[in-house]
Every structure is written in C-alpha cells, then in structure tokens.
C-alpha cells in the first residue's frame, strides 16, 4: 500500500458514497451538493492519474458551471423535499434490481479481464501543452465542429426557454 493506493481507496469511497447520496437524498438541493462532492472526488482521481488539465476543467465546467446551473433551476422552481414527487416502493425496487442486474452482468464480464498494472510515476501526457498539441493537430476538426454545437445549443436554449407570448414586432430580449 503506497500513497497512490491509499488515495485511490479514499477517493473511491468518497465518490461512491456521495453518488449514493445523490440518488438517496430527498431534497434536490442536497442531491446537487452530493453530486458536486462526487465531481471533486473524480477530479482527485484525475490528479492522481496525472491528468491535471482535465481535473481543473472538471472542477470549472462541472462543479462550477453545470452544477450552479442546476442549483439555479432548482431554486427558481422552489423545489424542496416536501414537493418532491416519490415513486411507489415497487417501482423503486424494480429500479434498484435492474441497476443491480446491469452491475452484475458487466461485473461478470470484466471479472476475467486481464489486470494491467498502472505506471505510478508521473507522466506529462495530461499537461496542457501536450494536450493542446494533440487537440490542434489531430482533433482540430472535431474542435471546430464543437463550436457549432455550442452555438446551436445556445440558440436552442434561448428559443426553448423563451416565453410563449411573442410580440409581433420587435420582441424585447428580456430573457437575456
């Protein structure tokens, strides 16, 4: 047990327990907090595996932007544990069983997988200079296409989120 293994087990326990907290807590705000903690644990794994750039992006994009968006929507709708819709016990049991069966099936599949040792020494493939070189040479086309994706997502979100009563002439952009 070196420091890598200890950190792996600590971060894994944190990730799994917080993920369970996401699906088990009644209050949606608590679920968001647990999910943020899960993302921090996964970022810890990234740092452990020398993917520093992805760790930072994970914190900024997921824990920072996306979860704040979720929190905004939850608080906008004023959701809390009282108005939280609940499924019947039977449906919940069915959900747990089907998730567990999926777990067991894939577990049986990967049980016989040949374990590959991990090189625990530091490598520099996850550093931003190296990733940037690959991104802007090999993957430059997907990178540019993703900008179009973002543009369409932006327009789509505005169009969907717009209020229904559209004024016939020059509607004010009050949504922004």
């Amino acid at each position: 047990m070196d420091i890598y293994d200890i950190l792996f087990w600590v971060l894994s326990a944190m990730a799994v327990s917080c993920a369970l907290g996401v699906i088990l807590s009644r209050n949606p705000v608590n679920s968001v907090m647990f999910l943020i903690l899960t993302f921090f644990a996964i970022s810890g794994h990234y740092i452990l595996m020398n993917a520093q750039f992805l760790a930072i992006v994970n914190i900024i994009v997921y824990a920072g932007a996306i979860m704040v968006l979720f929190l905004f929507v939850i608080m906008l709708m004023n959701l809390n544990a009282d108005v939280e819709p609940q499924k019947g016990q039977l449906v919940q049991l069915a959900g747990v069983i089907s998730g567990g069966v999926l777990f067991l099936v894939v577990l049986a599949g990967i049980k016989s997988a040949r374990p590959i040792a991990i090189d625990k020494t530091a490598s520099d493939i996850g550093l931003i200079s190296n990733l940037g070189k690959v991104l802007f040479t090999k993957y430059v086309l997907p990178f540019e296409i993703s900008s179009v994706l973002f543009l369409s997502a932006m327009i789509g979100a505005i169009v969907i989120g717009k209020k229904e009563e559209a004024r016939p002439i020059a509607p004010r952009d009050e949504e922004l």
Binding site: I42, L54, I66, A113, A117, I118, I125, N130, P142, A153
Partner: protein, 101 residues
C-alpha cells in the same frame, strides 16, 4: 494488492450503475438529469484511467469532448425542464405520460 486497471473498471462500473439506478428510481426530472451527468463522469473516469495505462493523450481529449457535449446538453435540457415546469408546474416525469395520447 496494488491498484490496477481492474480497480478502475470496478469503480466506474459502480458509479455507472448508481447512475442507472437513480435514473430509474427517481421521478424528479432534474435528479434524473443529474444521474445522467453521473454516468457521463463514470465513463470519463474510465477513459482517463486507460489513457494513463496506455500513455495515450487521445483518450483525455475524448473526455474533453464529452465535457463539451455535456455542457451543451445541460443547457438545452435545463431549458426544456424550465419550459415543462412553466407549462405544468411540476417536474414530475409521470406527467409526461400524457404525451402518448
């Protein structure tokens, strides 16, 4: 036993299954959406682990693109949920049953 690839496989499988369970158990559309994010992150973790094992930067860029797609997906998805809340004043997905009629 030192950590090897199987540990990472088990960990991401566990996180993915928890995400599936949550998506099937809960009726709140926002929680289901969060479970989908959890599943995406489980896959990301596995990609980074194999990037580390094989010393290949391509997998980390795939994770980067998955994050890009997830951000776009969240923007549109949350807009849809807000729209649904405006129409029916609930985020209960069972209300969407009536779409089939």
């Amino acid at each position: 036993m030192p950590v090897n690839s199987t540990h990472y496989l088990f960990l991401s499988l566990l996180l993915f299954s928890i995400g599936i369970m949550g998506a099937l158990m809960r009726r709140n559309a926002i929680i289901i959406f969060m479970c989908i994010e959890l599943m995406l992150n489980a896959v990301n973790l596995l990609l980074v682990a194999f990037s580390k094992i094989y010393g290949d930067a391509d997998a980390q860029l795939f994770v980067f693109f998955i994050m890009v797609v997830a951000a776009a997906e969240v923007a549109v998805g949350l807009a849809i949920i807000v729209m649904m809340y405006r129409k029916v004043h609930s985020v209960d997905i069972n209300i969407l049953n009536r779409l089939k009629h």
